[in-house]
Amino acid sequence: MLQETVRRFAVDRLLPGVEEWFESAEFPSEIATELGQLGLLGMHLQGYGCAGVNAVGYGLACLELEAADSGFRSFVSVQGSLAMFPISAYGSEEQKEEWLPRMASGEVIGCFGLTEPDAGSDPSRMRTNARKDGSDWVLSGTKMWITNGSIAGLAIVWAVTDQGVRGFLVPAGTPGFHTRDIKRKLSLRASVTSELHLDECRVPGEALLPGVSGLKGPLSCLNEARFGVVWGAMGAARACYESALEYAKSRTQFERPIASFQLTQQKLVDMMLEIQKGLLVALHLGRMKDASQLAVEQVSFAKLNNVREALEVARKARTILGASGITLEYPVIRHMNNLESVLTYEGTSEIHTLILGEALTGLRAFT
């Protein structure tokens, strides 16, 4: 029923506008509130206005959102897993009460500041720092490629301190904190991506997330969000496959539908196989997550496989649609371009490969 609800919402509210939003590069702000009303924001968290669904339910919601557009799944991932999750897991009672209900309803949008211009796959090299000044903290640095950055009312900023990496809650409008949107993207266009600039930005002591220090804080958030990517990528792939199947059955060449050609059938079957396999992996991971048995290597396995295969499905679908496949009239090239971002965000496929390489050999290929 969770999946059915999101699918209906996507058909009613997301699909009619998505081509326009993608083309004009905007995230429709009213959708944030509607996603909140539906209970999708922080849906896997307990209490504070959150729905408390299990991991499989969360995954299915991500699947249906991304079948509409990766931008919506990204929005929900960032809000729930990257912004709300750290408050829920590591925040003080006051922080939870102040932020989580408003974030669950969509009134306050969150963003997650970890990546920097010179620290992507290697977040340990982050330069953003926070120093203690009396009871306050003063933050300085730049964050890059931040989904929801300029529309966020609250940024979760990770910074180096004399106690290691710590998380800070920085509300929009705090003096010294400003954002700038990254324009001219050809991927995730129906989603806002920004830079965050912190220039001697002063926040009170209570802005510190008390429950975690070190990189395991942000990495645990990413692991939550990656789990949603595992499902979402298959949603994008399904949308491409369905579009290609329908097109192949109706497009006639040489006086017969192109679906009757063996080469087209081969493509359709290969697409279907990878989607079904990817979904089984996602479902298996979901059940393990619900049983608290999920290891990070398994998330890497699924993120690497499912996004890579989703991109391959999108490309195959594009060839079936021929020239039509490059227009926004069909969802395929939109998903294909989006998946190029999904391939490298939340851990590049290279890093996930090396995590798995280390798991196999016991030898770490990166430090």
Binding site: M1, L2, T5, R8, F9, Q37, L38, G39, L40, M43, G49, A51, G52, V53, G57, A61
Partner: protein
């Protein structure tokens, strides 16, 4: 105030309909809360939000019908009753009304809401029979309802406009598809629905036996509706507009 809403689990109308003899095939077919019933549930929930009310969903059907009830509970209804009994297989509209009346009486309702007709059987007679068994007035084809004190005021759709009718509670209403925009079942609603009471009753619990629900009518034959004939194609050679106008005049459209 207590509101009872009649709901039905029907084969998903978006899927091709399959017949099993003279009956609609249901086994193994994906079922949904009848889309027409979503308007009734929404209407009850809006009254609940405006005035405070306890909303009970009532359904008759096999165990799979609990799915439809869960959806209504996820939308925000408070409780549900499902009447399931082997003796009800093949029940007609009259038998259904008799059973629903007994189940609904248990909720001590002030208002009973149903769709104008179901999306599978389309008889449209069950609500009238139910009102008769309840001994209540019925307001049909409601496109708008409001309740003030203990009076229901409704817009009844007609072919040329609408009637405004008033009726004292208790009353039975049937609502049309245009009455509201049914809400989505939110994730919180879906989680909350798992804990809401769903009472399962058999015929005996309602003081009825198989004899009381014997079908009074039998469908003896089924045939497919005649397919629409293909339209007439006019190739415009300068006089097309005149020919279209002549066609419309002949059809008394203009």
């Amino acid at each position: 105030m207590n509101i009872a809403v009649c709901v039905k689990h029907v084969p998903d109308p978006n899927l091709p309909m399959e017949m099993d003899g003279t009956r609609l095939k249901r086994a193994g077919v994906q079922g949904v809360l009848d889309p027409g019933d979503e308007f009734g549930v929404e209407a009850a929930l809006q009254i609940k939000e405006g005035h405070g009310a306890d909303v009970t969903l009532v359904s008759m059907g096999p165990e799979a019908s609990s799915e439809a009830l869960r959806r209504g509970l996820s939308m925000g209804a408070d409780r549900a009753i499902l009447v399931s009994d082997g003796a009800l297989e093949g029940a007609d509209a009259l038998a259904t009304a008799r059973v629903l009346q007994r189940a609904i009486e248990r909720t001590k309702p002030d208002l009973v809401v149903a769709a104008v007709e179901s999306t599978d059987g389309y008889t449209g007679t069950m609500p009238a029979a139910l009102a008769q068994f309840m001994g209540w007035p019925q307001v049909t084809f409601a496109t708008q309802v409001e309740i003030k004190d203990r009076t229901l005021r409704a817009h009844r759709q007609t072919t040329t406009g609408y009637h405004v009718v008033e009726c004292e509670l208790p009353v039975m209403i049937t609502v049309t598809a245009g009455i509201n925009e049914p809400r989505y079942a939110s994730f919180k609603g879906i989680m909350a629905a798992k804990k809401k009471p769903l009472e399962r009753l058999a015929l005996a619990d309602l003081g009825l036996s198989a004899v009381d629900v014997r079908p009074a009518q039998e469908i003896v034959e089924l045939s497919k509706a005649e397919e629409h004939r293909s339209g007439q194609v006019i190739v415009d050679e300068g006089e097309a507009a005149g020919r279209v106008a002549a066609f419309l005049r002949e059809a008394k459209v203009i």
